[in-house]
């Protein structure tokens, strides 16, 4: 008996030993998958162009500093935006039906506060000089991005410290000053020169500025209040909301009447009312429409209501009521809502004979602001599609350009204008239009394909509740400018980042790899490759991708 059976003794048995990899089944296919990240709804809605899902992805992996650096790639003030932005990104969040939208603002605030090597390195010097007029969010964003592109940047501002409206208009209970100071210092440390207390048109002429720089960006913002236009407005106890706020935020404590009416429904009105409450004044807000039409950030209105500030809706001021030279009230007329106006909100219409008096000893107007162009050429215009003014080499940004009225939109405007100016300085020409903030992402994303909830494979997601966000109790807020919204620690931020569905953003979950019946997907550093010689084009990988980061295309031969 043979001690061992050898293969050649089995020659009469058909014996296959060549691997099937020699058979190129890839020729069977008529469609093929390819990896293509798509636009998440949050990022599509972000006026500052934050690449939210990718930042959250890094944070979810525990790469905290990398995530913070990613966030600061073009946005110089995430710690500020995380506190003051009305986060339009959270409205279309696909997580909403699965436990509630991701608390992006809380994560942004956490990432903004991360210390360490979080600011990108500027490119080598180009020798070009840019003047930025205005150190508000648009000016800061423009300065930051142009400095990162290697240009020499000087910022001119008439206020004692940089920050623009962030400093003069946003109270400390929303934005503590050390947070703003730190972000301004980070920009200054890059080499951006801040020339404070210099008003262009007064301390230095506009023409002089233009002559000594290769480009000028005007980002003056809206600081000039509109007038009320009613009798009694010139009384000394009728205050301009923007100016009063600036005084209060600078630490001044003027003697104010005990009860004051704040007229307006925007963020300035909310900031004034809530600041007055904190210096011992009883405010009452008068607004001519209803809560639903208020242009103020919803969370600010909620906070104001939580603090017990009374609102008089559907009321328009008619005159300031005075007795013996002192204000005793504000006479208002009752309104009702009529047809929608140009802004899409329903127009308030007066109800005849409905006058009534709101008792008060002072009035603050906060009716919206406009730009103050004193000392500048009157025919600059508000910028075209490239944010270029009517003068060559002079550009506009922020509220001056679009009047969008939020810090986030101003940052986006600053980022876009920086890209146009950078192209102008490098080539001497101008693009047809300013790129969108999303077009400036370094990561390759199909911007035409926005990921909707229906594009997700929800079999891989289970509901996870949105965490609580803690607010300082209303009792503790009176008489104190302490920050109202409490921040998160690293664990809370990472947990929240892990709740992100990463719509349209490959997070290497490996579903495509594991579900391929043809073993035609392989892991490589930083992602996957498709073995096109063997992929049969079934499309299971595309279907089973939870987040729509793959597409199918026809095969061209």
């Amino acid at each position: 008996m043979a001690s061992e059976l050898r293969l050649e003794d089995l020659s009469y048995v058909p014996f296959s030993e060549k691997p099937t990899t020699a058979i190129k089944t890839g020729t069977w296919k008529y469609v093929e998958p390819f990896y293509q990240n798509a636009l998440p709804p949050c990022a599509a809605a972000c006026p500052a162009g934050n690449d939210i899902s990718y930042g959250l992805l890094l944070l979810a992996k525990g790469q905290v500093v990398e995530a913070a650096r990613w966030w600061r790639r073009r946005n110089p003030i995430p710690a500020t935006l995380g506190r003051v932005c009305p986060h339009p990104c959270e409205n279309p969040c696909n997580r909403e039906p699965l436990g509630g939208a991701i608390a992006v603002s809380m994560v942004e605030r956490f990432l903004g506060d991360v210390e360490g090597d979080v600011v990108p390195q500027p490119a080598p010097p180009t020798g070009k000089k840019v003047a930025v007029v205005g150190s508000g969010p648009a000016g800061l964003a423009a300065a930051y991005n142009l400095r990162l592109a290697g240009h020499e940047v000087r910022v001119f501002d008439d206020k004692p410290a940089p920050g623009g409206y962030l400093r003069t208009g946003i109270p400390e209970y929303r934005l503590p000053r050390p947070v703003l100071d730190r972000e301004v210092q980070m920009i200054a440390r890059l080499g951006v020169v801040f020339q404070q207390g210099v008003r262009v048109g007064r301390d230095v002429s506009f023409e002089e500025l233009r002559a000594s720089h290769d480009a000028v960006i005007l980002a003056l913002g809206f600081h000039k209040s509109r007038a009320l236009g009613i009798p009694g407005e010139d009384h000394p106890h009728v205050y301009n909301g923007v100016k009063l706020l600036e005084q209060l935020l600078a630490g001044e404590r003027p003697s104010l009447p005990p009860r004051m009416t704040v007229v307006g429904g925007g963020n300035t009105a909310m900031d004034v009312a809530r600041s007055l409450l904190r210096v011992g004044v009883s405010p009452v807000v008068v607004y001519r429409r209803t809560r639903a039409e208020m242009p103020a950030i919803a969370a600010e209105v909620e906070d104001a209501l939580a603090e017990g500030i009374p609102f008089e809706f559907l009321a328009a001021p008619v005159r300031v009521v005075m007795e013996n030279g002192a204000i005793v009230g504000l006479e208002c007329q009752r309104m009702q809502l009529g047809e929608p106006d140009a802004s899409g909100r329903r127009r308030p219409v007066p109800v005849p004979g409905s006058e009534f008096v709101v008792p008060c000893q002072g009035v603050v107007t906060a009716l919206g602001e406009v730009v103050d162009l004193e000392g500048l050429p009157a025919d600059l215009g508000t910028g075209d599609a490239r944010q270029a003014s009517t003068l060559l080499g002079v550009f506009v940004a922020g509220d001056m350009a679009d009047g969008a009225g939020t810090v986030t939109a101003a940052v986006g405007s600053g980022i876009r204008v920086a890209s146009v100016v950078d192209a102008f300085l490098k080539s001497g020409g101008l693009p047809v239009q300013a790129p969108t903030v999303q077009e400036l992402w370094p990561r390759q994303v199909s911007l035409r394909r926005k990921v909707e909830f229906s594009n997700l494979n929800t079999a891989y997601f289970r509901p996870l509740p949105r965490p609580e966000i803690h607010h300082l109790s209303p009792e503790l807020r009176r008489g104190s400018f302490a920050e109202v919204v409490q921040g998160w620690d690293v664990e809370a931020a990472v947990q929240e980042a892990r709740r992100c569905l990463a719509c349209g953003t490959c997070n290497e979950c490996s579903n495509c790899l594991y579900f391929c019946p043809d073993v035609a997907i392989h892991r490589v550093d930083g992602g996957f490759v498709i073995d096109r010689e063997h992929c049969k084009g079934c499309g299971i990988c595309v279907q089973e991708c939870p987040r729509s980061a793959l597409e199918l295309r026809e095969v061209t031969r």
């Binding site: 296959s16 060549k18 019946p517």
Partner: protein, 324 residues
């Protein structure tokens, strides 16, 4: 600052990385049987011998001289998967090797119909093999003829409209469980972690292990190739194909509580069910509900029964399947 995290998304799949299925095999695009084999070999690893009778996989494995698996394969006659595997187990035992898993891998035709008597015989002898029936619910390889695994109402070339199949699907897991084997289970390609766990559990048990794997077949189910995993998931989530395991014919464990989506979600994606009338669909709906009641009753009964009596000590080895 850096945070250590074991796994950064608990919802991601976690499967063995090694692949013993090679590209270039001859399965149709979107084939559930190919995906099933890939997952099975991920679970069992390289120390595995596979026995394949006549079935789709006899073709998928490649024409002579090609071979799609990174483990030895024995291709055998249609009705002999279980006994051939038992023979290999006997040969391994003679060599003194007990570290090799023997996997019989047969289709529903070779299991429910043609291989049934030899399977029942091997199972009754409690042969130490893992038998996986990958079930695409008809003889797909030969051109979609009905098998006893074909569900009620499905179109096949031998149950054409209007003479669609009137009988329900044979309940193979319960038949095998009633042989009182140590382990019988259902599995789905849409629940790969569950399938891999069941195979690894099977490997750790001595005696016959039977796994009924539901797979999609785009060609035979008349479904879109890309939906193969999706339809397999819907089979489970509508309750049509429950995921459960049975130990020693008695202890039933339900592994996944379905979402109980309406059966139309599952039926409408497959052309083989296109002709069903609302009355037919309602019958399927009520049958699914009844089968679930029955399954839950069995699970409840199994958990309340005392363990079976132990055999006489001198026979304990021979009838070890009775459990301790």
């Amino acid at each position: 600052m850096s945070v250590e995290l074991a796994t950064y998304d608990p919802q991601n799949l976690h499967l063995p990385e090694e692949d013993l299925l090679r590209s270039g095999h001859l399965a149709c695009p979107g084939c559930g049987a190919a995906l099933g084999m890939r997952l099975a070999l991920k679970a069992l690893g390289p120390k595995t011998i596979v026995v394949i009778p006549a079935c789709c996989w006899a073709v998928i494995n490649g024409p002579y001289p090609f071979h799609a698996l990174g483990v030895p394969v024995l291709q055998v006659a249609f009705e002999t998967a279980a006994v051939s595997a038992a023979g290999i187990r006997a040969a391994l035992a003679m060599q003194g090797r007990d570290d090799v898993a023997v996997l019989a891998w047969a289709g529903d035709g070779g299991t429910f119909d043609i291989g049934f008597q030899s399977l029942s015989g091997a199972v009754e002898r409690n042969e130490d093999i893992i038998y996986v029936c990958y079930d695409n619910e008809a003889y797909m390889n030969t051109g979609i003829q009905r098998s006893s695994a074909t569900p009620f109402g499905a179109w096949t070339t031998t149950t054409p409209e209007p003479n669609i199949k009137p009988e329900p699907k044979k309940n193979m897991v319960e038949i095998l469980a009633e042989h009182r084997i140590p382990y019988a289970a259902t599995a789905s390609i849409a629940f790969p972690e569950d399938f891999v766990r069941k195979l690894q559990k099977a490997r750790s048990i001595k005696g016959t292990k039977f796994i009924h794997l539901w797979i999609s077949c785009p060609a035979g189910h008349k479904s879109e190739e890309r939906l193969s995993v999706h339809i397999a998931r819907l089979a489970v989530e509508t309750g049509v194909f429950p995921l459960y395991e049975v130990e020693y014919g008695t202890k039933y464990t339900i592994n996944h509580e379905p979402a109980f989506l309406d059966v139309t979600e599952y039926l409408k994606l497959q052309g083989r069910f296109r002709h069903l009338t609302p009355e037919d669909v309602d019958f399927i709906r009520r049958s699914v509900a009844w089968e679930w009641e029955r399954l839950r009753a069995k699970a409840a009964m199994g958990s309340s029964l005392p363990p079976p009596p132990s055999p006489p000590r001198r026979l304990a080895m021979a009838v070890s399947w009775l459990g301790e």
